[in-house]
Symmetry: C2
Amino acid sequence: MHKDIIEKVQALRHFMKQEGFAAFIFPSTDPHQGEYVPAHWMTRQWISGFDGSAGTAVVTTDDAALWTDSRYFIAAEEQLRNTPFRLMKDGLPETPSVTDWICETLQAPKSKNAEDLDETANEKTVGIDGNVFTEADIKAMEAAFGKAGIKLRTDLDPAEILWTNRPPIPKNKVEIQPLEYAGETAQSKIARVRQALREQRADHILVSMLDEIAWLLNLRGSDVHCNPVFVSYILLTLHDVTLFIDNEKLDDATKEYLQSIGVGICPYKKPSTENAGTKAALNPIPEMKAIKNETEIRGFRKAMLRDGVAMVKFLRWLKPAVEAGNETEISIDRKLTELRSEQALYRGLSFDTIAAYGSHGAIVHYEATPETDATLEPKGLLLLDSGAQYQDGTTDITRTIALGPLTDEERLDYTLVLKGHIRLALTRFPDGISGTQIDALARYAMWQHGINYGHGTGHGVGSYLCVHEGPHQIRHSWKPAPLRAGMTVTNEPGIYRAGKHGVRIENTMLIVPDGTTEFGSFLRLEPLTLCPIELAPVIWEMMTCEEADYLNAYHKYVYDSLSPLLDEEDRQWLQAQCSPASCPTGLK
Amino acid sequence: MHKDIIEKVQALRHFMKQEGFAAFIFPSTDPHQGEYVPAHWMTRQWISGFDGSAGTAVVTTDDAALWTDSRYFIAAEEQLRNTPFRLMKDGLPETPSVTDWICETLQAPKSKNAEDLDETANEKTVGIDGNVFTEADIKAMEAAFGKAGIKLRTDLDPAEILWTNRPPIPKNKVEIQPLEYAGETAQSKIARVRQALREQRADHILVSMLDEIAWLLNLRGSDVHCNPVFVSYILLTLHDVTLFIDNEKLDDATKEYLQSIGVGICPYKKPSTENAGTKAALNPIPEMKAIKNETEIRGFRKAMLRDGVAMVKFLRWLKPAVEAGNETEISIDRKLTELRSEQALYRGLSFDTIAAYGSHGAIVHYEATPETDATLEPKGLLLLDSGAQYQDGTTDITRTIALGPLTDEERLDYTLVLKGHIRLALTRFPDGISGTQIDALARYAMWQHGINYGHGTGHGVGSYLCVHEGPHQIRHSWKPAPLRAGMTVTNEPGIYRAGKHGVRIENTMLIVPDGTTEFGSFLRLEPLTLCPIELAPVIWEMMTCEEADYLNAYHKYVYDSLSPLLDEEDRQWLQAQCSPASCPTGLK
């Protein structure tokens, strides 16, 4: 069992012995700190066999351990069975940190055996591939290990030597994102970054985040699952911009474009900043990228129209199809993707669709597999979180759909989530406050019922870039980045009852100015997403007139926007979905 | 003009020259980091003449400057005229920090004159009285000055030598706070602190905050304005507790008590921790002190009854008195204090009363002086923020009172503040979240009208201790300390219109458990303060039935609690004030 893992660890230990390593660390990160790691950098999965999205493997000369968090305890237990790795349950009070464990393990007196006599130096060395850690992480590790008299070596990647058939770094072609979608030239963006450098009295910045590079240069790629980015680095100084990229990825037109905007090209590798200057800038790109320009906002609106058409066609199709039988989580995902792919400027999904029926809805990051794929029945709730990449904008929408009769608890949870979603959408708030400072408004209604959810309430969405984009978030934990006009942000409260159901209602919103008074400037969230919100599950006695008014106004906006783009049958269906809910009597 | 300030600075410079100082810093802090500074430590006021609550004076051999914030720009300008001090406006982008200014000033090439030739060493020395800064502040200064090649000397206080008639350190007697009010013996508290030390693997803690010392030893004093504390330090190790205090402050009974609980006594000075151990603990006392025990909570309830009786007598008296004429901000403050002082266990005010009429209400920390004292007229709003120290509990209450006809804007602002106050009081929230995470609920209603306020929404209140108590707060800016059952916290949103009026409505609340569900434990705020909230200004069309219900329930609670303690006339007045507001029609 797991002979390959045992053999790999043996080979690694041989290599470590030769090179003088006492331990080697394999994280789940890549050199570009993105949400998805290209296969080339999945060294932790390669050495340990554990395939969760988060985890750190450590191999010492006579021990091996893998850290992962509670989402993966069961899967990891399974996957690590009969391997040299023991599971370290991250987040439990008794679990040591990776560095603490290494310090303790390496300092423990070792059994005196023949092999140990080979060791000549007393100083232990821990190895990492320095490319896949941030500078801050490396400094923190150096400090922790330094106290224990342990050295950190960062310049060797054993997978480069030991991993046979290692997937190559993707070499997909880079494409130019035209100004009609980008709305600002790369030269102008570069000039703004340089201005920020000057304001900070800094002289250079090394950009390793792939979406920042794509945004800055108005280029897109296809190297990373669901994210239209390409593997590269940028080193930007007050005088030069150099793109470190594999030459094969650039066709002549792109090379010409790069030359025309004054960007030099070097082979792909992490740039040395030694000659770039003495002071690195704090990265100004995340906030610049987060604030969409007028062209990008127009693009979002157009993309939402197309995405809304696909969603309407899908939703009209869905219930009869479920009633006819034989539809599953995977089959409806396929159907929805097909409808989206028929839309103009479609470039792929912005993330893997979450189509989660019944109790699967309570698994927050559920992705149906052939083993779990549930057949949809005409009852209960379907949670459907999906989105697409269009060249003019990225979409992210969640609808929770009643496939038939619901329990009282399902209706209650649906109504509370909807109330939270609407409250946040109705909130006017001071310019520049952080998302943490308004997060409670999405939770208030459910808190009153003793209900809460563990995920964030909102994240930025890129313009034909990553669907999860910073620096701002609407989140319970403290995220200081201010909310600013022009940013996109999702509004997605949820309720999850293990073994029963999940509810989430999500629109992508645009942060817009909402007037200035003697007390300052105010902002609010305006929905970009165009798709009806199901009203069948709503317990109207729990809704206020203000909330009903919001729903009516939103549905009028959806209908007015989408109806000209629909055929007659779809239009009639949408009209029925968007018909006004009258403000019920007995409202609080 | 200001001959005395000029002479003091001259004397100081002479002293600095003798001792080799290039600059000396006088902050507004004292050795115990309290809200009020005993006169003995007001060295910044002594050297500069500036008497604001916040400010830092710096004197160099040929320059002098005083930093203060925008609250005091006008007063400081006035008070520093014709002194050697120039005003540095803290918080403005062009204003350098104290350390930056000192570094630049000391590094600037000096005019070559005879005096300079005296200087033999190149290294400049900046002086502070190390006792009045925290360790962290000293370290930060050392780091900042170190980079500029400047030394920091902390062991000399020139005021000790130069300040003639310096007020002595208060020598008031210390009193025992009996167990019937404290609810936990000092031995038990000490044992809990030691347990926290062990959990942190620490071996000692130096306690310098006076309310922490008073809480830990179940002692009270009268050394600080409005705060029943006494000047001292505690050094606590796993084996010893030593109180550093002036012997004159202890009578025989207190000495005996201290001996009985195993607390040693040393003369007052900042203890050296050199022999105490190697690892200082993170201070566990603020959270321990913040969570009130059953006895303390019972004491709060009893104190609130007495405070409520005084408030009811005052409020019944107020409007006829104003109509009769000749009442002013100061005269009503005197009346209220008198009524409070008649109550059992009264020990003084918990802070200086804010009685702010009309436009004075917009000045958040207004304190009437003979020069500003306004005569109250039967119109407009009176903002009255006050509280008392009772031996069984500390009170803090704000009521905004309509003395007669109001403007529409006054009624709107009152209604929005009331809605915010009620919303926060109605909120059920997850156990352990921070006050920042619920702060928006008090602001939501006014945000919708483009209104906001700059102060915090709530602070802890001590048990016969400081009226402003940490570590938790309900505040817009990030305060991570969790809200826990048993903590007190105020609920005090406000609206302030410069030149017009101010509104604030404040109850002191107790954080209480509110059930556990599958989603975790929940808490809510229960009012401790017992005093009717004025309903005359309320715009009922803006209120919800839920809000009206809350007011009715609160008023029933107030009436039921206070009426047995009132004479017939007061009772009838209270009954009228607490009569139920019927849930109006047309509510949202």
